[in-house]
Subunit: 358 residues, 5 copies
């Protein structure tokens, strides 16, 4: 099922800024988790209500509110109201059909990205890509992140905060936002890995000259690469604009890491482009392989037909029932026909050899 | 029927600024409707004459004059004269063959866009796209919009004004112009939806290996995507230039919404490009599918011919009427021929197996 | 006959600025016509000599000298000397193999454009494009235009001056230069119209599945589109640079109209690009159509061969002349063979049905 | 034989600035000629030694030293030392594998270009392109030019100086450098002419439906176009940078002519691009032509086979030797079979007519 | 085996700056060599320990530490700590999956490049490319270089230092960094040479019309070109940014040489692009060659079948056993059949001649 423009339909005709969920409902109940930390302390709360998060609003610490499930406009609306977020941002959060982008509002930064994961599908074990929208809101001393499903995509970040790995506890909420983006981008590499396996599998099959009969697989592969590309490409602009955000929101010590992010995105785009070229080459190879096999089939048919059709004509000739056929009466008639047959066959054999068909 | 350059012919050789209608007449009579509103009041008039609209000229309110049917130059000329509009604008309004663009004149902004809708055509239910030109004139305190037919494309905006939905009653005529453009762009998503359905239908057919015999459908699909692209692409530049218009015409509170418009257009262009790639991939898949089936047909032919042609030669051999053919006299002759036949058939079977043709 | 670089040969090795005609001679005798006008008066002279034009040199009026036939270097040289025109300009006027361009000299503007017209060629009525070079020289109070043949391409402008249509009599010689360029660009639309007819004709043939046997027509069509593109593309830069020319030569009131010119050129480029894509799609459609028909041919061959070759084997079997063939003696032999034949035929029929070949 | 990167090998691992000749030796002995001229006088010396040229170093006149054969590093080194030329320039002069470029050193300008000529090769008379590197050094009052072979590529310039044609004697050494570059660029037009002839020849063959059996010719043509492109493309940048060189080296009166050079290069690039598109179209046309002919071959085979195979079955049927075949005994048997044969043949004929195969 | 994104997996989920080796272990033990030199002295140490290198830290001379084998994080960490290198640089050094890039840190410059070498693989002797990552760190008075394996890629530079060849002993450590980069870039030419040989080999095979049966070789070739391109392309940006580095790190006398580097990279990119076009052309040529041979096969089949199938029908006709077949009784029957056979054969021969199939 394609999902490029389908869900837009639901908002067509509504005034901008209307809070309505656009997209598939991916989980039953919206769950909210919260981590509040600074260099020395931290506390973590799972499955709390929206209202409970408000208590952490005025602390100096970095507060990370992570919301899984965006199908409930009321939850999003309450957060928007409490944290003074622009209505257009709230509309975008609820619309799972955004293009990756970054928007700067007065005192907050709004980032939309696509988290992608790959899944193998039986029986051919073809890779298919799952896309999920993630929104990250970077405010004065908080980060609010929204995702569509309950996939544990941000667990590595949680683990790092809890175990004081790296610098995450030392640097502020801007570093947290960077860490979330970095985690999503890291996942892109995993997906490209799976696509690479898929490409290799096709390649091997074609080298060993056993293309699968149905060319749909290669078509599917090309489409998955297209999906990955669609998620990754806009991230380049996003990261560039994230780098250029003024220092009130993103500190200089974090900015160094964002440059690293940029390197990764460039590398990802390189890989995706290489994959596109490879999949095109594979298709060409597939076509050539079919042509080659067709050619071989035709050669066999031609050799056999061309050899035996003239011979059958000769036998047909002496199978005629004319009363007066002098050759039939002769004793040497039958051996002579055999001689002719062998001569014709030999001549054709030489001809085929010369044409390099044998 | 193509309509890229056809109608230009009618104006070739005329001096610039001549008021003449270029295009198909799409409705019988030009109808004019007017909505005059501010935050607290509004009045609406349907099917009024040009002259009746002039009364609203000097009010402080926002006045929206919507004209359906542009085939009558006299109506357009009267409006042009009364509202002091540049003759080149009036010429462009009457010429339904414009490229989407935005032009800035001294105290008004002139926007041309293409409204597109899709229609299913029997019996194949292929999608075909209807294109209609819409002109929007944003003046000091009025908006004048022109469309070619009486399709109710702006009804959602009317409804919003009447029902005070969103901010439309609070913000001025620049927001109204934005709302009209937004409505046209929203319709693009609906058209792309239909094209997506069409692509999916083809895809499904090709996966189940039942391509329709006539490849014209895919060609038609590619063309519809081309039409959609032609309508959507120039809108990007248009929106960018709309954003950069100085604040005398477009207020800052409206400008925030225009950024949203830009996001939508970028997303639309993304989708259209994806569709183009997909339709090309589909065509390749179609070709591969034909090649594959041809290959299969050839294999069947080759297997049958290659097996039976040599056997027929053998039977032909012993069908000859030579007087002296010793084998014919022997009692074991007939069973021996059967033995040869079975041996040859078996050998070929093994050969085909090895070639992986069976 | 191609004419991309052929005629350059004639000037290779000559020093720059040599006055020599490069190109085909398209008419017998160079003819000069002159129109001298201002808002209230005008006079027109046909077929005058070069020297007679000099009398109008010092008048305040706008003088338009139109020269048809550029094969006579002496005429061009006299004009160049009298009007103080740079030798390189004169060389370019005589060389009908220029790329469309605009050159700014101290007190004059030199514009080269290609006027294109289409011609239907029998018996296939394929469109072929005629290209003619037009040079326009905009000086202090005169316009000198050169064309290769005597085709009446500027008649609409003459008519407008004579009949005071539009603003042409009110605005100066810069507007005249604009009007000439506009007329050439208007003709492009006519040519694209004819190309569109041609594309439609091919399309219709392919939909009704009756491709003409010789694919050369489509190739020709692609080439004509290439020619049109070659004439139109450089005009965009030309118009942009014409717009940016300082106000000494092009007045502000004319500049507004040049913007209109730019819109037309952009639209033309859009159309040409669309045509290119369409012609490529048509070629693909043509290929697919051939493949499809080949497939159908092969299927018929395969069905007939595959059905009758085994049957012929059976009849061959019982056509053998062995003395001891027990079946031949039996009374049920012949009907039994018929039974086998029908059974085999039926089996193959079912097989073909299942393969969806019938 | 390709020659893209071959000769680089010889310098790999050497420190930059090492004077070593890279490339094929194209002539036996390096020959030096010298022309010294101003507006009123000139003297010319052929086949002089390096040391003899030094005498002209301090004159006010323009001195042009032309060196044919660059395989002798000692000659180049002496010149480099005497005229104070940067070692990197001398290294580049000796390396015939440079990309066309322009380098500005303190008081001299170093230009590398490729001179190309075409040669017809028997028996197919295919065009092949010869590439030769030309280096031009523009110093304070001298021009030193180097070429690989003794081909008389600069004879037109010599002739112009000797015969005082054009402005060459009036303008300085910058104009001489321009004239040399102009001469090389003029030769490009000749090569493109030959390529155009080649394209036309292929075209004509394909229209008359007699493609040469070996497609290698078209491939060769594409490659020659690639070679021409490789020589021409970088010249655009080169000319632009030549135009922007400060006035100490290139005077304003020469700069006007360089603009002309730019026009020529743009035109050349246009032509080469057109040729590339045409050669691609020709290849497509060639493919289509093969497909069409294959289709025709298949049709003939199918019509004949499909008609006679069923008929042969019928004759085979009544060629069987069963004792009890009632039809064989009947007097109407033979005519009846003829009737059936004619009926079957007629039916198939109608079938083929309807399929439009006949 | 592809290696685009595989190894990233190992770092996914780790915080940035973690020192972990990513990539294949290419040698057993990390070995360190050191050269310390100025214009008059030098000393060289092979296989020393990390700690031993620290003694050279404070000397005025240029110190070059070259480390082969990056699989041991402890070695890299010690160096990082002692020379005050940013943790992100150290992470990148250990990750052999970087894109070529240049990063500027406070007092050092970090360059990542890919060294490529080619290897011929039996039995087809196809070229395959080995890629190895090289990191170059340019600090105040030292250069530290890291490579993955013990391939002697920098031996030419060592030799130059030892033998005082060129300027390397006179210029500082920035020139050393330039020399290392130049050496890597020089190796690119060798690889392109081998690819060129490979292209030529394929070309020759196709001209002599003996394409290898398996098209996989061409596909492999295209991929090797892709690999080379991936290594070379990013170097252009890298060199440009190296040129623009401020003079504290790169002196002016070295900057002149970097311009030369840029010329080489542009030339390399040119060659790679040419190779890509050529490999695509080769594939087309291969396809055409297959089509042509298929066509020829079909023609032979068609000529033989079309000639003999009707003749076999005639013989079959007179092989029927009807009692009343008047022709069979006639004495002229058999010769008449021969006459018909010859007439039919002749007619078909003429037909084939006219179709130009013979």
């Amino acid at each position: 099922m394609l999902n490029f423009s389908r869900r837009r339909m639901e908002t067509v005709g509504l005034p901008p800024g209307s809070l309505i969920h656009v997209g598939e409902k991916r989980m039953e109940k919206t769950t909210i988790s919260l981590i509040d930390y600074d260099e020395t302390h931290f506390e973590t709360h799972e499955e709390i209500s929206v209202e409970e998060t408000f208590a952490f609003r005025d602390r100096e610490n970095t507060t990370w509110i992570h919301i899984q499930g965006i199908h409930d406009p009321s939850v999003v609306e309450k957060i928007g109201t409490h944290y003074h977020i622009h209505p257009l941002v709230m509309e975008d959060v609820l619309n799972s059909d955004q293009r990756p982008k970054i928007d700067r509002y007065e005192d907050c930064l709004y980032v939309v990205m696509k988290s992608i994961r790959s899944r193998s599908e039986l029986p051919e074990k073809t890779v298919s890509i799952l896309v999920e929208q993630v929104s990250i809101l970077l405010g004065p001393n908080f980060v609010i992140s929204f995702q569509e499903s309950d996939a544990p995509i941000f667990d590595p970040v949680k683990k790092r905060i809890l175990n004081r790995m790296g610098r995450i506890r030392k640097l502020g909420n801007d570093y947290l936002a960077y860490a979330l983006m970095d985690t999503i981008i890291d996942d892109y590499f995993l997906v490209l890995d799976d696509l690479e396996d898929e490409i290799e599998k096709y390649e091997e099959n074609l080298i060993l000259d056993r293309p699968r009969e149905n060319p749909y697989g290669l078509y599917q592969l090309k489409r998955q690469i297209l999906y990955a590309r669609k998620a990754i490409y806009p991230v380049r602009d996003l990261v560039v604009r994230f780098q250029k955000t003024d220092l009130a929101l993103v500190s200089e010590s974090t900015a160094v890491y964002v440059r690293d992010l940029y390197d990764h995105v460039i590398q990802l785009i390189d890989i995706v482009e290489t994959f596109r070229e490879m999949s095109t080459s594979l298709l060409e190879l597939y076509h050539t392989s079919i042509s080659n096999r067709m050619n071989e089939v035709m050669k066999v048919l031609t050799i056999i037909s061309t050899t035996f059709i003239p011979l059958s004509f000769i036998t047909g000739l002496y199978g005629m029932n004319f009363k007066y056929m002098p050759e039939l009466e002769r004793e040497w008639g039958y051996p002579a026909v055999w001689g002719i047959i062998l001569a014709v066959a030999l001549t054709l054999l030489v001809f085929f050899k010369r044409k390099k068909w044998l």
